[in-house]
């Protein structure tokens, strides 16, 4: 195969702007999938991805396209996750391509995520091919969308293909543009091997399958390969490319090609996304640029509702990690919740997805504690601690300074909501950076926000203040010093460790009060009065009381039918099972999550 006939590209789009639908149409048009195998949104093959309409993991597929000029081209379409949590994975997928199709919804225009990912593509020197989608919608305004692309991103877009992926309109034009617009890959087949890992997954028969883009040299079956970052060596067992529905062995991959390697790899940790694969016999001297180890940004405790399911939870986490090297977990114990794991996630969406997969695919009932970020604490004796669990936050007297992570956030919304957005960001301790008008009706706002202010309900709050129109993206900026305190929650006078969290001093009172109120709503009346208190150090700053229960059922017992009474007692027992016994207080599981939704 000639390199001139290869095109490696990805698709960038905001959620719901039609990336997966366009991918499906391209697959159809290149007859890569028999119609009978065609399932909606083929590339998103996890249930959760389909339901949420998002791509969690990158995926890739090789297609043959017979162009109008009579030549047959090989397209490697690399799907990228659109969400900020997976920013690093996106950047590695982009690094495997020479170009990107930018899909913009003709009725919505550019959104924050699109912008972030487009800039990322431009940074990687990709040719960006704009496409305006959903021209079939009555509210579509393709002209305006094209102008927005030109004004905001600064790339020519006036002659961008106007398509409807849903109806299959003008898809061929997109494919023709791919050929003329996106350059063919370059590379020397005889140079030492340099291949970029952009994804991997665990196959129970073949071990870890690595997805690579060969940049230089040639990869052959039987050869011993080495991972640059980890130093691990493996003998390749199978090499090939990704067909639309299955892997197709080809024996070798040359520079410019995209494919997979199976090498009986047991541990997915050995195959880090972004790492360079080289040959042991003819190693390259330098790895490809840009590799970094991804670190979790958000931590949360995950506990089985039923303590006996702890080993099942461990097994499930281990299985999930086979496919997701960015998931980290360590055993932890909570007085309130028993044995569980402190898990690290790339972001909130990542956390939600993992929790959902654990519950759905592994049939577990879980309690997830409030997410926490990593605080950097310098002690009076000079030690520096990284705190990912509020319970371990040191005594204020021992702290000389505390820092919290800050993100640089980008919010796009109709201009009428600017006031609301500013109010929200202010409330979340944001620092205003700048604001610019994208056109007469839309603005882009830049803020710096502490990560701990956005880890739970920020996006929901933003949506509700902008009637769902705002989009939001962020990237880590670094640490900044902050006045932080640990807020403890006491039930019946005893601290519930799983409910403790770190908060900025100025917000501690309000937050403490709100949590007490929220818990009062969630904790049912019991035989005894339950005081709910919020405390900093030993000082109580807020208090609510769940009054003692006054009555349960007092019905007549007719004709000696005591089965009814028994049923009531059984019901009581069942109800108890759904509760966590914390000292003498019964707490429903929702209570642990309800403290996350304070904005209601």
């Amino acid at each position: 195969m000639k390199k001139e006939q290869i095109r490696n590209f990805c698709i960038i789009a905001h959620i719901d702007h039609g990336k997966s639908t366009l991918a499906d149409r391209i697959l159809e048009l290149t007859s890569s999938v028999e119609l009978r195998d065609m399932e909606e949104q083929l590339l998103d093959n996890m249930d959760i991805e389909r339901e949420r309409g998002i791509t969690i993991k990158a995926r890739a597929v090789r297609l043959n396209y017979k162009a109008k000029n009579g030549e047959t081209y090989v397209f490697n379409l690399i799907d990228t996750p659109g969400h900020v949590d997976f920013n690093y994975e996106v950047s590695r997928s982009l690094a495997a391509c020479e170009g990107a199709i930018l899909v913009v919804d003709a009725s919505q225009g550019i959104e924050a995520q699109t912008l972030a990912n487009t800039y990322l593509a431009i940074e990687h020197d990709l040719e960006v091919l704009p496409v305006v989608n959903k021209i079939d919608l009555p509210s579509a305004d393709p002209q305006n969308a094209c102008e927005e692309i030109e004004n905001v991103i600064g790339i020519p877009a006036l002659n961008a293909p106007r398509i409807s992926a849903k109806m299959g309109t003008n898809i061929e034009e997109v494919l023709e543009r791919v050929i003329t617009y996106i350059p063919a890959p370059k590379g020397d087949d005889n140079a030492p091997l340099k291949a970029l890992i952009f994804d991997s997954y665990y196959d129970q028969y073949k071990g870890v399958i690595i997805f690579v883009r060969v940049k230089e040299g040639t990869l052959k079956v039987g050869e011993t390969i080495k991972m640059f970052a980890t130093g691990a060596e493996f003998q390749t067992v199978e090499i090939g490319y990704m067909g639309a529905t299955s892997l197709v062995p080809s024996g070798e991959l040359k520079s410019g090609e995209v494919g997979y390697i199976a090498a009986s790899i047991k541990d997915i940790g050995d195959t880090r996304v972004g790492d360079t694969v080289t040959s042991v016999e003819h190693p390259c001297s330098e790895p490809l640029e840009g590799y970094k180890k991804v670190n979790p940004m958000v931590y949360s405790g995950i506990y089985p509702t039923d303590g006996a399911k702890y080993p099942d939870l461990r097994d499930a986490l281990e299985k999930l990690r086979l496919n997701d090297a960015s998931l980290s977990f360590e055993p932890e114990t909570s007085i309130a919740l028993g044995f569980g794991f402190r898990c690290g996630f790339l972001g909130l969406l990542h956390m939600e997805i993992i929790a959902e997969r654990l519950e759905r695919e592994y049939n577990l009932d879980l309690i997830t504690t409030a997410p926490s970020v990593i605080y950097r604490v310098t002690m009076t004796n000079g030690d520096v601690l990284y705190i990912d669990n509020p319970t371990n936050y040191p005594n204020l007297g021992l702290i000389s300074s505390a820092e919290e992570p800050v993100v640089s956030a980008d919010i796009l919304a109709p201009s009428e909501f600017v006031g609301n957005i500013m109010e929200l960001c202010q409330d979340r301790r944001g620092t205003f950076k700048d604001m610019k008008y994208l056109d007469e009706t839309r603005v882009e706002l830049h803020y710096e926000l502490p990560l701990n202010e956005i880890v739970y309900d920020f996006f929901d709050a933003l949506k509700s203040r902008t009637r769902g129109y705002a989009s939001f993206d962020y990237e880590m900026k670094g640490y900044q010093e902050s006045k932080l305190v640990k807020l403890d929650i006491l039930l019946n006078g005893e601290v519930v460790d799983a409910l403790s969290f770190i908060v900025h001093t100025d917000k501690a009172y309000a937050r403490g009060r709100r949590i007490c109120e929220k818990l009062k709503e969630t904790i049912p009346r019991q035989l005894f009065e339950v005081p709910i208190q919020a405390a900093i150090g030993g000082k109580i700053i807020a208090r609510e009381t769940v009054k003692a229960m006054r009555k349960d059922v007092l019905a007549k017992c007719y004709g000696g039918d005591i089965t009814r009474k028994k049923k009531l007692l059984e019901k009581q027992k069942e109800g108890k099972k759904k509760m966590r016994q914390l000292g003498s207080v019964e707490v429903p599981q929702e209570a642990f999550m309800s403290v996350l939704k304070l904005d209601e």
Binding site: L527, L554, Q572
Partner: protein, 378 residues
Amino acid sequence: MCGVYIHIPFCKRKCIYCDFYSVCGDDKLYSGFVSAVSNSIKRRSNKSIKVDTVYFGGGTPTVLKSSQLVLILNTVKHSFDVSPNAEITVEANPCTVTEESLSELFNGGFNRISFGIQSAVDSELSALSRLHNYEQAEAAVFNAERAGFTNISADIMIGIIDQTRKSLIDSIDKITSLPVRHISAYMLKVEENTPLDEMIKRDGSLLKSIADEDELSDRYLLMTRLLEEKGFLQYEISNFAKNGFESKHNLKYWRCEEYLGFGPHAHSYFDNKRYFEDCGVSEFIKNNGEPKITYTDTDVDKAEEYIMLSLRLAEGLDADRLAGLDKEGRYKNIISNAEEINRLSGERLVNISRDGKNLSLTERGFLVSNAVISRLMN
């Protein structure tokens, strides 16, 4: 000693809150039922079974003719060894009895009658879709007294739609001034699939006209106090009586004594088994009372039941009796767990006797009996 319960599954009209088994019938159905239930009693006939209480419940037993009820009672007497001073109760709706019918019942052997009065306020009675008004209820009680009944019981309900504290006090005053010796007082509970339940589902604001948890509890305690002042002592969660007029039959349920039930959906506890007649009226008549039994428990856990049932009684739980029933000592903590008992008694939910042998619920404890009992049993 054994009790006998006869379920008369008929009502003239079903009350909106009721989810017990009853149907509207006609004379043909009534007579078919009488012969079927009599047959069912005869089949079980055993003169070695000593009976000291007979209870006709429903439904509304008095929709049947007095002669029919007496006929069934006589069948009971012929089939079992019924003691001459047995307590023989019939439940009645005030508007289904007359002086004559009551005399016939008394002369036929019934010596206790229980009227479903519920309230002395007519608007409350119609809110419950009861057929009678208070004047009729009053007349029925006096007629019963004239007929010879000295052991008369009345039901009072708390939590009726639009009931107020004042109207409740009024009902209690009026009803206790009648010649009644026993009061059953219970709270309206919205049972699933009753007309009341559907009404509330359609119109949520109805719930607002029923007092809330705290108010209902206060009213219950108020009622307990008022009844006590008038000489009605609480002997069970929802039963109050003048001295010596406690319902012997009802006490059997709470004291884990045996009883045999006859009629559709009637429950029995006999020979360590709990079961019920698992068929409707028409099937019951078609089978001519041939039993169609469903067991709910074939090996009753006596210790567990004793705890659950005895704690509904003012007399409470006796540690020695429990120890006798609980050979494996599964529940020995109930009385010996001092911390828990202290906590509960500190909240005035239970009383423990000085010698630590007797545990009972207080009035406040009765109100939350399910929670207290299930807590004690865990």
